[in-house]
Symmetry: C2
Subunit: 194 residues, 2 copies
């Protein structure tokens, strides 16, 4: 795989960074202090808007480059769940999702800066089916501290995987970045080549 410009990932998430590495991309991390407040929006519109802000606000040391911004939420029956505020909030979210089908939405913005400047934004949805969770299971999971930095208060890529009966769509999207759709976008935009 070849790539011409430097790619910057405007995210602090170690999971997004891991996914880009798995894909085989060379990239660097960039700071981005985007305002994460939005009005009431549908999940797809919200994650697209936030991914765009994160890409646009990223501070990078060069003019010609590619910036990737991304945002993830969990949606259940019209409610949008971000990261839990505290352990009680995590418990509330996990009880809400217990035994139910919910969805993960990740918005991605690929911003080409400098020559041929352009911006592509999309979102990817993956359905997730939770088993019924007992209070003991929820408590044990929250005690690990794993839920606190994750939308919907769970991470599929760890112990919580044992409570997920299945998904429909891209697994990496649930982790925080839709590897397949991002790859296809980077190929189509001629940012990477095989």
């Amino acid at each position: 795989m070849k790539q011409k410009e430097t790619i910057y990932l405007a995210s602090k998430s170690p999971r997004r960074s891991e996914i880009l590495s798995l894909m085989g991309l060379r990239f660097q991390m960039a700071e981005s202090d985007a305002d994460e407040k939005t009005g009431r929006l549908a999940p797809a519109a919200m994650v697209e808007l936030l991914s765009k802000r994160k890409a646009e606000q990223a501070v990078v040391p060069e003019k010609n480059c590619v910036v990737i911004g991304s945002d993830t939420v969990v949606a259940y029956r019209g409610r949008v769940l971000g990261k839990p505020k505290d352990r009680e909030d995590a418990k509330r979210m996990l009880r809400l999702l217990s035994g139910k089908k919910s969805a993960v939405y990740t918005g991605v913005t690929v911003q080409v800066r400098g020559k041929d400047a352009r911006t592509v934004t999309f979102h990817t949805k993956t359905e997730v089916f939770f088993d019924e969770l007992s209070d003991a299971e929820i408590d044990e999971y929250i005690a690990t501290g794993d839920p606190m930095d994750k939308a919907g208060a769970y991470g599929i890529q760890g112990m919580f995987g044992r409570h997920i009966a299945g998904i429909r769509g891209d697994y990496y999207n649930v982790m925080g970045l839709p590897m397949n759709d991002l790859y296809k976008t980077l190929i189509k935009e001629k940012i990477i080549f095989i």
Copy 2:
């Protein structure tokens, strides 16, 4: 999570070992020299049979314990794909699966030895949707060496994830061990407790 008996994993797969660790299980690896030849069987029957043989043949240093055996294949239109014999075979498998829906079957046997001896066998199926692969993409992937020890000549947990549009079912089953069904079985059989 509590467990009484020692659990042995009758497998050399680093991926299965990783999945058991992620689940939060304490376990040890065990040697098993099971005969992997079967006659012509449907994928579900084949992986169940082989998982049972692997569990039963496992050599462990104690009498009262739990042994987990497992086997994974990829199935496409009545064909069963195991590990590729060589790079040409890997190429043939990836071309066959390109642009198609296939399925991963993992068979699991949980054998309780000693007191209350019993054996539970099941299989889990996950559907996998491949994008169309170009020859250049297949060649680049085969050059990494990743396909050679994997059923169907691909691993979802790495670079090849970029070519998988989605799955339906348990992601960990595609990696080689259905975390969710195994967890539920170990709970039901009172081998682990929350």
